[in-house]
């Protein structure tokens, strides 16, 4: 059974706009990646070329959602190294952990914008983006470039938990 917030899908999607996502990503970047090259937003949608890694966190509640972070595989290790501020060799677990934390930080802040949100899931890492729920809509998207690598941040939100 789900809570009825009295909002339709479009209203919920409107709670999370591209600008809000961009602000969250920018704040995260300044906080943890301020010592490396800036993340440059793209002016039009860009597809992250394969092979890629995708970190995602789910948002439960009346209007379930999914926050995904797609990065080129070649960018994943430098990104993790930047977050950890480590020059040495990183393990796959280090890379997955770092990407997961990026998705977690964005997901938590997105959840705060969604009415009647429930719990934030733990981050998951995959080699392809997870399929969002069939009744989900892309509420916000940010395509950006870092050191020549494309990254895409997407927020999927459902109109209802049904």
């Amino acid at each position: 059974m789900t809570q009825d917030t009295g909002l339709d899908a479009q209203e919920v999607v409107d709670y999370v706009e591209d600008e809000a996502l961009a602000q969250i990503v920018d704040q995260m970047w300044q906080s943890y990646f301020g010592h490396v090259e800036p993340l440059l937003p793209a002016f039009e949608p860009q597809e992250v070329p394969a092979p890629l890694l995708c970190a995602s966190v789910g948002i439960s509640g009346a209007r379930p959602g999914l926050v995904t972070v797609l990065v080129q595989e070649s960018a994943a290790k430098p990104l993790a190294a930047a977050l950890l501020q480590e020059d040495g060799e990183l393990t796959d677990d280090d890379v997955y952990d770092a990407l997961g934390e990026v998705a977690n930080i964005i997901g938590g802040n997105i959840k705060a914008l969604v009415p009647d949100a429930g719990a934030l899931g733990l981050p998951a890492i995959a080699e392809a983006p997870p399929l969002p729920r069939s009744n989900s809509r892309c509420a916000a998207r940010l395509d950006a470039n870092w050191q020549g690598h494309w990254m895409t941040f997407i927020v999927w939100l459902s109109g209802s938990g049904a």
Partner: protein, 126 residues
């Protein structure tokens, strides 16, 4: 001073522990609430625990609740450091016994401000 950093993300533990070590803290780490309780049981009791909310095995809120039920740990100051940003979550954590709440992403300056509010910002000597 001694701090316990509780977070399931190694990257986040490193960021928080690094900032605390620069301030002169001796830091121990735990990857979830259950591991943190074990660390506390082994002593000595730290002055500060920074605690993430969403973790496997035992989440941060459960950890805070359990710590607050143990009389010997009452001097431990707890700061939630989490991506949970809703007002209701902050209220829940403070009601459970956390003393401060820091939302990720955070800057080192913000962490230091929270430590100052707790009276746990060491005087760093040049």
């Amino acid at each position: 001073m001694r701090a316990l950093v509780v977070d399931d993300s190694r990257a986040m533990r490193k960021i928080i522990a690094g900032a605390l070590r620069k301030l002169g803290y001796e830091v121990v780490e735990a990857a979830d609430g259950a591991e943190a309780l074990k660390v506390l049981g082994e002593g000595p009791l730290p002055e500060l625990a920074t605690v993430d909310w969403n973790m496997p095995v035992m989440d941060g809120l459960t950890f805070v609740t359990q710590v607050r039920a143990i009389r010997e740990y009452r001097s431990l100051s707890i700061m939630m450091v989490t991506t949970e940003a809703e007002h209701g979550q902050i209220v829940r954590a403070l009601a459970a016994g956390a003393h401060e709440y820091l939302i990720k992403p955070f800057t080192v300056d913000a962490l230091e401000e929270k430590l100052a509010l707790l009276g746990l910002l060491p005087e760093v000597t040049a």
